[in-house]
């Protein structure tokens, strides 16, 4: 809303005409001539209001407006804080779309913007975010389930891919697999579908040590000595590359051939236990991931390239690399995320110039940067995500954090995001957390959070001039066909039983016959 007022000039000698801009934060409708107790009587008696003497024509709509600032009356590009009161009784106007666009963009007309959607209640006014701010200074998309975070993330991905901006998507639940399905819509772009495949070669011999340190209680100095002694006996020269599980098998073999003399009798068995533990976990999870991929057989999967040795397979202009983490437990997912991010970040930080700047989308971010209260501060990915969020800007490594439980996110990390897109949040703890973390979010704005519809939210931060209520554009064409809610009812109807179930059934039948005696 706008209103034109006259305010004293800064010199105080004369007055200037300004336009004050405000955003409606609250709307209420009431009829002072319709007493509440009368409506109760109408309901109790099943009466229609119009059949009585009650009045229904004098209701009023009252709006509360948050003052955003003022501009000159004839040029809306420069919005400055208003430091003089608005005139009581002044006429309030609904500005034209072109004027709003002007106030939203200001003087930065040449800056590239990412089209996000339209203002809520003003379909004729589009909302766009400064692209460079998003990719360099990090963004967070927060919403409860069904709030619209995937729709919003897809929107950002599409816009960035259009700009050939490289994307790495860490996807625990397969929410972004549809991008591959709809890859034809991204002309001249490449969508890569990766499954975690940890392999060891002569350049990343430290991988297993890293896994052991993250997935077990770690090794003592003496144990490390024996571990490295075993590694040294394995020949990985040339192009030889082994999967992690095969490499661990080799290590175990080498460990049994080591001299036990001079060492504590428990040292080698302890190293073996640690390696067996890692092998068992990874082996089981590889199988789980494989089974999940088999159910998604229509997708073309590729093993995840080594981020250390082949970062360019992850990050290339016009490429979106989706790492599907389904089937892996929390710790392993976190380890993989840490591994990928660490190597890619190191690559950029080392100025090796093998990969361009890129944006990483971390879905279910609360699992990878949990708050201290969650008691998972040893989650492997915490350290590298913190590093990226504080130093990434210098090296062109951006983060887009997506989460449905903001209050479970690490507060320090989240507050480093410069742009927030918050959708419907019903949980009061999440609302309070968001209010605390987002500097620009007013009390009245946070009150709106539980009332947002799907795709409706508030965007705030450096990517926009002031917080805006936005309805995110729904890219209907990007909705995947291959993935949807599973039809469990049909699955039960078609269920033919299992060997185990048949065995149990036989036992039940025997028990029943005995009872009949």
């Amino acid at each position: 809303m706008t209103t034109d007022i006259e305010i004293p000039s800064e010199t105080g000698s004369d007055k200037i005409n300004v336009t004050v801009w405000g955003r409606i934060t609250e709307l209420s409708r009431f009829n002072p001539f319709l007493p509440a107790e009368a409506t109760v009587e109408l309901a109790d008696e099943g009466l229609s209001l119009t059949d009585t003497v009650l009045s229904n024509t004098r209701d009023q709509v009252e709006g509360k407006v948050l003052v955003l600032g003022r501009t000159s009356s004839n040029d809306y590009s420069a919005l400055v804080p208003l430091n003089y009161p608005v005139q009581p009784g002044a006429v309030v106007r609904m500005p034209k779309p072109a004027d709003i666009r002007r106030i939203l963009i200001g003087d930065d007309e040449d800056v590239h913007r990412l089209e996000l959607g339209t203002l809520i209640g003003r379909k004729d006014v589009s909302v766009a975010l400064k692209t460079n701010i998003i990719v360099a200074r990090h963004m967070a998309i927060l919403a409860m389930t069904g709030g619209g975070k995937t729709v919003a993330a897809r929107r950002v991905i599409r816009e960035l891919l259009d700009q050939n901006y490289p994307l790495v998507i860490l996807d625990p639940h397969g929410d972004y697999l549809g991008l591959w399905e709809k890859r034809k819509l991204f002309k001249d772009k490449q969508i890569n579908l990766y499954f975690p495949s940890l392999s060891v070669n002569d350049k990343n011999l430290g991988l297993v040590a890293y896994l052991v340190s993250q997935m077990t209680q770690g090794l003592t100095d003496a144990q490390k000595e024996k571990f490295h002694e075993a590694i040294d006996r394995i020949d990985l020269n040339g192009d030889r590359e082994l999967s992690v599980t095969n490499f661990i098998d080799l290590l175990l073999k080498e460990l049994s051939g080591l001299k036990k003399k001079g060492t504590h009798p428990g040292t080698i068995p302890a190293v073996r236990r640690g390696l067996n533990m890692v092998r068992g976990k990874i082996g089981a999870m590889e199988i789980a991931n494989q089974k999940l991929r088999q159910r998604l057989s229509q997708y073309k999967w590729k093993p995840m390239p080594d981020p250390l040795t082949a970062p360019e397979q992850f990050v290339r202009p016009g490429h979106a690399s989706i790492v599907y983490l389904g089937g892996y437990d929390h710790l392993t997912q976190s380890t993989i995320v840490a591994l990928v991010l660490q190597h890619l970040f190191d690559n950029r930080a080392s100025m090796a110039n093998t990969i361009p700047p890129f944006l990483t989308i971390v879905e279910e971010a609360h699992n990878f940067i949990p708050s201290r209260g969650e008691g998972q501060m040893d989650t492997p990915s915490v350290e590298i995500i913190r590093k990226v969020i504080t130093e990434g800007r210098k090296f062109g490594v951006g983060l887009l954090l997506v989460s449905q439980r903001p209050s479970r996110l690490d507060e320090t990390t989240l507050s480093q995001c410069n742009t927030f897109l918050v959708f419907r949040l019903v949980n009061p703890r999440d609302q309070a957390f968001v209010e605390k973390v987002m500097e620009n979010l007013s009390r009245s704005d946070s009150k709106l959070l539980p009332g947002f519809g799907p795709g409706e939210g508030i965007v705030s931060g450096q990517a926009v001039r002031f917080p805006l209520l936005v309805r995110v554009k729904f890219d209907k064409d990007l909705v995947p066909q291959g993935i949807g809610d599973e039809d469990f009812l049909s699955a039960v109807a078609e269920w033919t039983g299992s060997t185990q179930a048949e065995a149990v059934e036989r036992g039940d039948s025997f028990e029943k016959d005995l009872e009949g005696l």
Partner: protein, 601 residues
């Protein structure tokens, strides 16, 4: 208030020679159950339901006699035969003992059989285990369980509401009535305070008995009522006033009279509701100071405001009643007719005459008033005071009286005793009570300083009203000599009191003329149902609506500073144009947001 209950098996006690002898020969009813039930009380009042279903109530205190070591209640001679007959024909007797040691009331009521009493009580609440508490009684049982006692009282109250003064009990015990009574009790002597509630209840009880034939009842049936008034125009009218702060004079005072007309059943919003406002400032209504003879006069500002409002409101009502299409009924917030004798041009009020232009704008000319009224007062110099507020008011009242449409004044929180006094007078005139009883009641009411709303609140049940009574609001003896001949020409009005909620004060309804009984019932039914739309406030909702509409907003009363007002008037005076001056004054009494009520500052 303490309440105790004794249930007696009359058949078994007939066989008890000592008890039967006490009842039949000594005319005493032994307490039979726990003697402590009557505490240290020495006296009691008896209420008894006779065989013909009428109530015997002896409010004069009886002393409590003792017979063979047992405390008893005396059976008065005039009901003794009835009591014996009742005893013989009934199986059970309930004796309720309630009140305090200082004001004990004993209520006796017979029940024919267990089926007619205990079965009904237990059927209302299956969880009550009567047999555990020796009920029905084999001989005499004191009901000690609070839940059971409450259930029996509930049943007795529903069956015999008048005997147990249920209506008065509920009214006097509701929280907000008690709160105001408490404040009231503080203003009367401690001696009166002790029995205050009991005495009001007794007055209410008797009044109800005497007024019984004059009490009319309305059944709650919204669908029937709104179906009946479907498509009719119903108007609500109310006035509001404003003062411009900071001006040395009380003038200009803005007055506006708002009208809300609604057609129930009409679906088209633009046809259904009509809102209008009649605005003026006092100086435009009462401006002719030439009628004041006293050279050293000072107009009583409070009375000036009242006089202006009392003239503008009924005048707007009258104007509205003539509008085509004619309304079905008009309801004015406040009295239809006021006591107007103090608003003349003489000491102490010194009210100026009504502006001729103001009257002309509303279709009233000098000739109309002169032709209609006899004996209009004249000044010492012989000038006929045709436009005196007194004459104009009388003229308006006479026109309103002539209107065939019911014109009602609805008065809430009426602190007067007018309806009590008129009722007592009518009761004496009709021979229902003697002049002595009337005086006794008047003196009691004066002593307790209770008004219409408390007495009628006790005696009426929700949906009941008193048959409208002719009320003289402007008796000749209250007017100054020169105006006395005019006073009888002001028509009498017809007043009633309607109670809409169990724990709500009743309100007064004044009619412009005597209407046929069925018309009155029809009108009261509408008033009752419009009040039911405000179930807690229990007042016609249409009046509440127009009250909000007509209120002069705060910003107008307080916000217009003396600076602004003085400047406006200085400008107008400099212009020297009367029309501009009048326009500015009228504008100040209007609100640009004409439907807003008291906006927040």
């Amino acid at each position: 208030m303490n309440r105790n209950l004794i249930a007696i098996n009359t058949a078994s006690l007939r066989a008890d020679e000592a008890v039967w002898r006490a009842v039949t020969v000594k005319k005493l009813l032994p307490l039979l159950a726990d003697q402590h039930l009557i505490g240290t009380a020495k006296e009691y009042a008896l209420r008894y339901l006779k065989r013909d279903r009428t109530i015997y109530a002896a409010n004069d205190k009886n002393t409590i006699p003792t017979y063979k070591g047992q405390k008893c209640f005396r059976i008065p001679d005039e009901i003794h035969d009835d009591f014996i007959s009742n005893w013989k024909n009934s199986e059970y007797l309930f004796i309720s003992i309630e009140g305090t040691d200082a004001a004990l009331t004993v209520i006796a009521v017979f029940a024919e059989s267990a089926k007619s009493s205990f079965d009904q009580i237990s059927s209302r609440d299956a969880t009550l285990r009567l047999n555990v508490f020796d009920l029905p009684p084999i001989r005499a049982t004191s009901v000690t369980s609070p839940e059971l006692r409450s259930a029996i009282y509930k049943w007795l109250g529903d069956e015999h509401s008048d005997l147990f003064s249920i209506n008065a009990h509920r009214f006097l015990n509701s929280t907000h009535i008690l709160t105001s009574l408490f404040a009231h009790i503080g203003s009367i002597s401690s001696k009166e305070s002790v029995h205050f509630i009991d005495r009001i209840r007794i007055i209410g009880d008797h009044f109800r008995k005497w007024m019984e034939p004059r009490i009319k009842s309305i059944e709650k049936d919204h669908h029937d009522l709104w179906g009946h008034v479907y498509g009719e125009r119903i108007s609500f009218i109310d006035g509001g006033m404003s003062r411009i702060i900071g001006l040395p004079s009380v003038e200009p005072m803005g007055i506006r009279v708002g009208t809300y007309t609604v057609i129930p059943g009409e679906e088209r919003a633009e046809e259904r509701e009509h809102w209008s406002m009649d605005s003026a400032v006092i100086g435009d209504i009462l401006s002719d100071r030439s009628i004041i003879e006293d050279q050293d006069y000072k107009t009583d500002s409070k009375r000036l405001q009242e006089a202006a409002r009392y003239i503008l409101e009924p005048l707007s009502l009258l104007t509205h009643s003539k509008k085509i299409p004619l309304p079905y009924i008009c309801l004015l917030h406040g009295p239809l007719q006021n006591q107007f004798s103090q608003y003349d041009e003489l000491r102490p009020a010194y009210i100026p005459g009504v502006d001729a232009d103001f009257l002309a704008a509303r279709g009233i000319e000098k000739q109309d008033i002169v032709n209609d009224l006899r004996d209009i007062a004249t000044t010492q110099s012989g000038k006929q005071l045709w436009n005196s507020a007194m004459a104009v008011y009388a003229f308006i009242m006479r026109r309103i009286n002539e209107v065939d449409i019911p014109m009602l004044g609805v008065v809430e929180r009426a602190a007067s005793k007018a309806m009590i006094h008129t009722s007592l007078k009518n009761l004496v005139d009709d021979g229902v009570i003697t002049r002595q009883t009337s005086s006794r009641v008047r003196s009691e009411i004066m002593q307790l300083d209770v008004d219409d709303q408390i007495v009628f609140g006790c005696l009426l049940k929700p949906g009941e009203y008193i048959e409208p009574m002719e009320v003289t609001k402007n008796p000749a003896n209250r007017a100054n000599d020169r105006w006395r001949p005019l006073m009888p020409q002001i028509p009498k009005i017809f007043s009633t009191v309607l109670k809409c909620g169990e724990d709500a004060y009743p309100f007064r309804v004044e009619f412009n003329r005597r209407f046929a009984d069925d018309k009155i019932q029809e009108v009261m039914k509408l008033v009752y149902h419009t009040s039911l739309l405000l179930p807690r406030y229990a007042f016609p909702v249409g009046i509440d609506i127009v009250d909000k509409f007509a209120k002069i907003p705060d910003w107008m009363s307080k916000g217009i500073s003396s600076h602004l007002a003085a400047n406006v008037f200085r400008y107008c005076l400099q212009e020297g144009d009367v029309r501009t001056l009048r326009l500015m004054r009228t504008l100040l009494s209007r609100s640009p947001r004409d439907f807003f009520f008291r906006p927040k500052a």
